[in-house]
């Protein structure tokens, strides 16, 4: 079922509570948090502040104890585990801090991996290899890189491959967890330039988490994690 409401939020969180059952007393409570379609949002927060937990909730890896998480107006916390996995690969591109790729696989196989699990994303593109090559070209990755083993690439190149993988098949939401933390300043800014131009082109929503405030000016909106996380019981 496609939701056609253009004003719909990509992410909408409503009174979500979560705590780890086995770990100390860490808990988070998010009364309200929305990200509009096409918006680029930066979440600022120190490490250990619950950034990754929040992203895991949004990606459907974790289930909130109470409250609702809507992605494109669909309440994903009500989905079965299998449907959640399917929803994730259909709609979300994920970029980790580092070591994003299967090191033993070729770059091209890494990029095409999400398509293996998502029919929906396959339908969005004509020729898989050509699309992958085009994205790589826009990300200024040399052609020969496609057939190299992922582990042979520099960290900066690996992160750009991760962007290509997240973007292939145009998922509606890109989630990036400190994707630049392993890069030096110069590489960081090149990487972000490329990533932003690609995301703008695909009109995806971006939710990026970082502790680096200097990145703020690139985003439509900057949110301090502390502002949306409330201590609750």
């Amino acid at each position: 079922m496609e939701k056609s409401n253009l004003n719909a939020d990509t992410i909408r969180i409503d009174s979500v509570k979560f705590h780890w059952s086995n770990k100390n007393d860490f808990k988070i409570y998010v009364p309200e948090f929305n990200v509009a379609r096409g918006e680029k949002v930066l979440l600022l927060g120190e490490s250990g502040s619950g950034k990754t937990t929040l992203l895991s909730l949004i990606c459907g890896f974790l289930n909130p104890i109470s409250g609702d998480i809507f992605l494109n107006d669909e309440p994903i916390n009500n989905l079965s585990a299998r449907k959640k996995d399917q929803y994730r690969c259909d709609n979300i591109g994920i970029i980790f801090q580092q070591f994003n790729l299967l090191p033993y696989a070729k770059v091209i196989d890494n990029i095409l991996l999400p398509l293996y699990f998502s029919k929906k994303r396959v339908e969005n593109i004509k020729d898989q290899k050509e699309t992958a090559a085009n994205i790589c070209k826009s990300l200024r990755l040399p052609d020969e890189v496609l057939n190299m083993q992922a582990s042979k690439l520099s960290v900066g190149q690996q992160q750009r491959v991760a962007v290509a993988r997240a973007l292939i098949g145009n998922p509606s939401l890109i989630i990036a967890d400190e994707p630049t933390s392993a890069l030096d300043k110069n590489a960081q800014s090149i990487f972000l330039d490329l990533m932003f131009s690609q995301i703008s082109e695909s009109r995806s929503t971006l939710l990026m988490v970082s502790h680096d405030e200097s990145l703020s000016q690139r985003f439509d909106r900057v949110i301090n994690l502390d502002d949306i996380l409330k201590e609750g019981d």
Binding site: T52, L55, S56, C59, F61, L62, A81, R82, D85, Q86, R88, C89, D90, I94, F96, Q97, F99, N100, L101, L102, P103, Y104, A105, K106, D109, L112, L113, P114, Y116, F117, S118, S151, R165, D177
Partner: protein, 416 residues
């Protein structure tokens, strides 16, 4: 895609994986070779005599009769008179029979008296006849045909003069009547290889001056005189019998066992062999036990190896999950790995076994008289392989389920 990436992943860990595969291959090969040795020993054992319907002897247990008549182990309790033998031989049911006479030896090898029918009738390993490899069957009274192992161990050639000793372990020789090696038999892998074969008449001849198992003092009949004597056998130790119709075997057996003139026993060789194997089969069970432990160890070893690689692969699992792979796929990847590893191992172990058997076969045949039949893969081996692969995948479920929990709990959190 999944298969391709699993191969790539295994290839990236080439050293560990190949060592694992090699270790598993070796244990599988060990299992297969033990199994092979076990079945070959059994076949060799049951192949000692074939197509003989009954073995006739004096009243004794079936295993004892089998042991002394076929395996040349132990002694007969009594002889059979020629008259009784003749009466049985003339029964309608009997198609052929071969008498044998035991009791003497040569340098630790048993001497067996028989007639030339022995070489026409006695069969081993599915109906094979005993062939002569050098020289001829006995022709003269003092001719002797020796088994392949006798010739090899004593380094005897055709024409060699030998002395037969009285009894199995004695210092009394029949040194007044030397024999001449007239023929050497082909290797058979049966106790025939260790037997010295003479004619029944020769057995009578060397005992001319003997009475009740002892030499008559002072009496020494010259050889020329002996040659002119009537040397037809008065006693035999046992006989191999073939019947015209298999349906009459039990009737004949009962008739022999109830023979009123003399206490006799007749046995079915196949049944007696089976009984005997059940006694010495403890060794067989031991080998089987070892084989099973080896396989078990191998499987645990493989699970341990998958387990130990699991921690360093948590990141990989998280990537799979982020790409949309369900936890079931994570399990599937590990099972697929176990399948590839165990499948490769079965292939390599078969090749190793084939090479090993080719190297060891002549030696085992020489030393133990067990002929190992080298064939590529029997249906049973294939079944074992399939069972092994299935067990390997089942065992790998243990680490796979752990990976499943990792991947559910880790989610976005990537642990290194």
């Amino acid at each position: 895609m999944l298969l391709k990436l699993t191969f790539a992943s295994l290839y990236a860990r080439l050293l560990t994986v190949s060592m694992t595969v090699f270790a598993i291959s070796l244990s599988l090969m060990l299992y297969l070779s033990v199994e092979k040795l076990r079945t070959s020993a059994y076949t060799s054992f049951t192949d000692t005599i074939s197509q003989t319907d009954l073995i006739l002897g004096s009243r004794t247990s079936s295993i004892q009769l089998l042991l002394y008549s076929v395996f040349r182990v132990g002694n007969a309790t009594n002889n059979i008179t020629w008259e009784s033998y003749e009466e049985i031989m003339n029964k309608d049911e009997v198609e052929w029979s071969v008498p044998i006479s035991l009791g003497d030896s040569h340098k630790g090898f048993r001497v067996m008296g028989t007639n030339l029918d022995f070489f026409k009738r006695y069969k081993y390993r599915g109906g094979q006849l005993i062939e002569i490899s050098e020289g001829n069957y006995f022709d003269d009274l003092y001719d002797v045909v020796i088994g392949a192992a006798v010739a090899e161990k004593l380094k005897y050639n055709i024409g060699k003069s030998i002395i037969v000793s009285h009894g199995i372990k004695s210092f009394t020789d029949h040194d007044d009547q030397p024999f001449k090696v007239s023929g050497i038999l082909e290797k058979t892998g049966t106790p025939i290889d260790n037997t010295v074969i003479v004619s029944l008449e020769a057995i009578e001849a060397i005992h001319v001056d003997w009475s009740s198992g002892a030499k008559i003092p002072g009496q020494e009949t010259p050889i020329e005189e002996i040659r002119n004597m009537d040397l037809s056998a008065k006693n035999i130790t046992a006989a191999f019998i073939g019947v015209k119709s298999k349906l009459t075997i039990f009737k004949l057996q009962r008739w022999i066992n109830e023979y009123p003139e003399e206490a006799l026993t007749s046995i079915l060789p196949g049944v007696a062999l089976h009984e005997l194997w059940r006694i010495i089969g403890i060794v067989e069970n031991l080998l089987l036990g070892i084989s099973i432990v080896v396989i078990f160890t191998t499987l645990i070893g493989m699970a341990a190896i998958i387990f130990s690689s699991l921690n360093e692969r948590r990141r990989e699992m998280a990537i799979w999950r982020a790409m949309g792979a369900s936890p079931n796929i994570v399990i599937g990847i590990l099972m697929l790995e176990a399948f590839i590893i165990s499948f490769l191992s079965t292939l390599i172990s078969s090749i190793l076994l084939y090479i090993l058997l080719n190297i060891l076969q002549p030696w085992i045949d020489d030393t133990y008289g067990i002929l190992i039949n080298i064939e590529l893969l029997s249906l049973k081996d294939l079944l074992i392989f399939i069972l092994f692969i299935i067990s390997a995948m089942l065992v790998s479920l243990i680490p796979a389920i752990r990976a499943y929990w990792f991947s559910i709990n880790d989610g976005m959190t990537i642990k290194i």
